[in-house]
Amino acid sequence: MADREIELSEPLGEKHSTTCYMCACRCGINVYLKPGENGEKSVRYIEGNRDHPVNQGVLCAKGSAGIMQHYSPARLKAPMIRVGPRGSGEFKEISWEEALQTAVDWMGPLKEDPKKLAFFTGRDQSQSLTSWWAQQFGTPNYAAHGGFCSVNMAAAGIYTIGGAFWEFGSPDWERTKLFVMFGVAEDHDSNPIKIGIGKLKKNGGRFVSVNPVRTGYSAVADNWLGIRPGTDGLLILSVIHELFRTRQIDLDYLIRYSNAPFLVIDAPGTAQHGLIARDKNGVELIWDSAKKKAVPHTTKGVVPNLTAEVSVTQGRKKVKARPVFTLLAEEYSKAEYAPEAIAPQTGIAAETIRGLAAEIAHVAFQEEITIEQEWVDMKGEKHDRFIGRPVSMHAMRGISAHSNGFQTCRALHVLQVLIGSVDCPGGFRCKPSYPKPYTAHPKPHARNAKGDTGPLAGPHLGYPHGPEDLALDDDGNPLRIDKAFTWDAPLSAHGMMHMVIANAHAGDPYKIDTLFMYMANMAWNSSMNTRGVIDMLTDKTEDGDYVIPHIIYSDAYNSEMVSYSDLILPDTTYLERHDCISLLDRPCSEPEAVVDSIRWPVVEPNRDVRGFQSVVLDLGARLGLPGMVNEDGSAKFKDYADYMVNHERKPGIGPLAGYRGKDGDKAGRGEPNPDQLERYKENGSFSMTHLPEDALFFKHANKSYQDFAVDMGFFDAPQPVTFNLYLEVLQKFRLAAQGHGDVQPPDRLRGRIETTFNPLPTWYAPFEGADLGERTEKEFPYHALTQRPMAMYHSWGSQNAWLRQIHTKNPLYVPSAICDAKGLEDGDWAWVTSWHGKIKVEIARMEAVNDHTMWTWNAIGKRRGAWALDKDAPEATKGFLLNHLMNELLPPRKDGYRWANSDPITGQAAWYDLRVNIEKAEAGAEVSEPVIPAQKTSDKSPNEIRYGLEWTK
């Protein structure tokens, strides 16, 4: 019998390539448009762009749900000014002219005292623009969200290896044979990690996941180490202990690429103790075994010694010194790092730790791989091949979002260096423009170039080299509102956005006038102590004014933060605007190629909204900020697209690296090309420049790569990286804490700096648990965490009709052992308490989880009335935030002072230090608590969606 005839070859519509922005992974997408019922073009289908290096054609759940995001009823429709009290959600729509004028009226006068403006951006991918804008305004108060996100990972990486995970590097998925992942649920490199795990599986590699929870990636791991939160540092150091014990270390690699042979001064009690010995020109010294003398490490033909105890001349004095390697060996050979010693704290059996070390050593050294390719290193030495140690690692917030995260992340990088697997075949590979040593990054700037107003002397964020680089005024007070780069968090390379509202509310270190924010739901899921932050945002002075006088906010959707703002600058959706994923900012390169990309308006907005970057440039022009106005005072850039093409940071270097030069044939450096954006669009909205074959590995010391990097304009001179096993920068702060030097910490922080700023990676107990002392085990014996759901992006997913069906509410997953102990059953409601707060939630039983750790999906809980959802939407009535249990400050210490709930080195928010208890809730309403009253909304949401009906027959 013949099959029925069906029409199978329907055309898809017009294809346009752009870049996804349902998250920060930056995948290439093809958007198909078809005329809808009213003839207007609508989105028929979004697919991954096969040619795109990031996603190679695949697309995640969020990306595929772009249609529902783009047509979300929660989209803002026009500029608005608040008419009800803050938080009420009562607004009046106004014109853009009014909105921009209001913003200028508020911000204009602040140019006289620029620090009164705080400009903070969330998941910003245009930081090179926004930071430049703030710099031109002259306020020291700028940062993006990195400080509460993963600065531990980023800063530890940059300081240690001149690169880091995600944007800065990735495993060599094609060649790796052993992949060890620490504390990752999803990460920004969403699709690439999944593609990579798929490849690894196909190639028969082994995948080890260290994570208290066994879901997502961990579910397919060959070996799961259900570690107790906050103890990864111990685990990693124990693996290092085992590698030392069994001599499984790549000495040649260490000598060539790390500071292992550098001589560390051993002069306890002096201001030189622990610093690296240098020659007169400031070049670090090593000990030449052949000549038996200290020579600059750059000297050719030396036989560096790793174990000598020597005496070197520093200044006019002779001091004792020992190579970094010796310090390392001594430290990690200690019995306290033996697997048996750390097993009880980590909850990982000694045998498993030893197994992990054995596996790492075996694959690194017995399964070495080579790529036959000649290359030349920075010393001019020729090599016949690239030698690879096919062990790769990846880590994210599971290790970084702890108060001991910086040191843990450093430990991980040190481990990678010890086995010689940084930027080698099969190991971890940097993505250009990385590696880049911390010394090649800017230092932080918080002062105006000339006097007290006008542009800042340099970029806000950067990498301090020592106490002298802190952002302190002459009296030692913080220059920045978030107190980044102070003794509280000296290496806060990404700023500390999570402290802004609390500090501004407290007027500590000073009061501000206008808080200008972009793309961050600070009144909800991106703050700790959400309830408290809401109170700070709505708090009034005795005069009845708000304590934080003005809040300007740009969002694209009706989020919780919108209702707590005064002036709303509605943004477009990602399909409606220009965007620039720039190498000046957060590159989206691949290890083998330099990549940047754009977004452009694939569909025109049908509301009175404008792309935020264009609005910022408009505001800059209206405020007369240097670089944004012509000599006659007119706006220099028509809009963001104009800026993307024509702005130059340095001659020939602009936001986009591709298709530069008059004919569009230059990459990296070249004059602006008026056709540049068209060329991007023709090429799938990205540009890609391949590295030369001999530049593909060991980029930190590869002459061909370094030359290429200079050609591309990443630096003006080669910037090879020496891996810092020993981080002298930390020792400088430690010396200051011991009383040496001019810039001195407050006494209350001296002890903490001494213990935590160890120049060799170390472990200390996370602060929250340690601070609560005996109360911890008695009152808060458990840990509570969140994980990123793969199908949701923070708070924005819930307005998406498709995605929200997957995560309509979030239960708290509780280990079966705790359930049994507490008489909890699936679906029960329970009170979860921390030292700071109390929430009521629905629980679900789980087996495959560390038995001290409960967890939930992040940011599913919503405020009633937000996101165009019904007031009784489960997100609001059953969903919840763990954030209510956290506080941005730790409980008061004996001296009455409260430490930030952050890493003491970088200021990274310690989300995962949370300690809790749980009890079954009395029978009653099955509604999550605390209940925050609804915000008013005029959003109208349909009762039914039949998307695409017009295209079906």
């Binding site: 069906q805 997957i806 309509t808 699936d826």
Partner: protein
């Protein structure tokens, strides 16, 4: 399974209608008597109401006619075809009674057999479902047939038999009591088997193929809230409600009707009253039985939603 009202109405009402028609088609009731004429009308009306109500749960009832096409494979289609075909002898018999005060024995037997076949087809819609182990048994058809006959008989003897000059009312009542006993005995066998069989051979381990590793439990549903499948297939009543409801069904469907029928025999003057209440009670009992038939059935799909642990509880 979700107990949809329309389906319950359909199966109980058309079942009773076919039972009544069956009794009439076998030649009971004086064709000339008004009550027989009414009885025919009621039988046909019950069948029709049942059939019409069965279309209420269709997504596209306007295309219901298409359901006659697949009689070669589909029991639902067969049921539809049979229902229509059965209307022919039944309508003829009814017409003969109404217009001609006559009856045809050959046509009657044909109609009776067709009634039974139609009820059998209805039962087999469920009885053929391998996915619902509780249903997948000969006892399902047996119980549908038995309840059809029992309810039809009860209606006949109560409302029409005496007036239609039928044989001894007492014999009919004893017959009804015997039918009730048989029907519920069959049901008892069905329930006993059903409770033992649960999801049948299928388990969460076989559903996922992960049994080789160990014991399987659901951690997370695909979508947080209910969906068509959970609403339709993963309906569950708590065990304690289940046994309570069975007890009520037994009281309404067995104890009360039998007691009332006995009373009807004992107190002939109130015969109509007692038989009437007995029949109504029986119908209510069967209605509840039908509700439980659906509500207690475990569909294999439930295994993907956590098996008995996580099925959607009945509120």
């Amino acid at each position: 399974m979700h107990p949809a009202l329309s389906v319950i109405l359909f199966t109980t009402l058309s079942g009773a209608g076919y039972g009544l028609a069956f009794v009439l088609a076998l030649g009971h009731g004086n064709p000339g008597a008004l009550s027989t004429k009414i009885a025919w009308f009621v039988a046909l009306a019950l069948i029709a109401i049942g059939l019409i109500s069965s279309t209420f749960h269709l997504g596209n009832p306007q295309r219901a006619w298409r359901a006659f096409s697949q009689w070669r494979t589909s029991w639902l289609s067969r049921e539809g075809v049979m229902a229509v075909l059965t209307f022919i002898p039944l309508t003829l018999l009814a017409a003969m009674s109404v217009f001609n005060d006559s009856f045809h024995i050959g046509l009657g037997y044909l109609g009776g057999i067709m009634c039974a076949i139609t009820v059998y087809c209805t039962a087999m819609i469920y009885g053929s479902m391998r996915t619902v182990a509780t249903w997948h048994t000969g006892w399902t058809a047996a119980s549908y047939l038995a309840f059809s006959l029992t309810t039809g008989t009860a209606i006949y003897l109560t409302a029409f038999g005496p007036a239609a000059g039928s044989d001894s009312n007492v014999i009919w009542i004893w017959l009804a009591i015997v039918f009730i006993a048989i029907a519920w005995l069959i049901k008892y066998m069905w329930v006993r088997r059903g409770q033992a069989v649960g999801f049948g051979e299928s388990t969460m381990e076989s559903a996922t193929g992960l049994g080789g590793i160990g014991k399987v439990r659901l951690l997370e549903r695909p979508h947080m809230m209910g969906n068509y499948l959970t609403n339709e297939m993963a309906f569950r009543i708590a065990r304690k409600h289940e046994s309570k409801l069975w007890r009520i069904a037994l009281v309404l469907g067995v104890i009360l009707p039998i007691a009332l029928f006995v009373l009807a025999i004992a107190l002939p003057s109130a015969n109509l009253f007692f038989s009437g209440v007995a029949t109504l009670s029986l119908l209510a009992g069967v209605f509840l039985e039908r509700w439980l038939f659906f509500a207690t059935a475990r569909h294999a799909v439930g295994l993907y939603y956590g098996g008995d642990e996580a099925l959607v509880p009945a509120e």
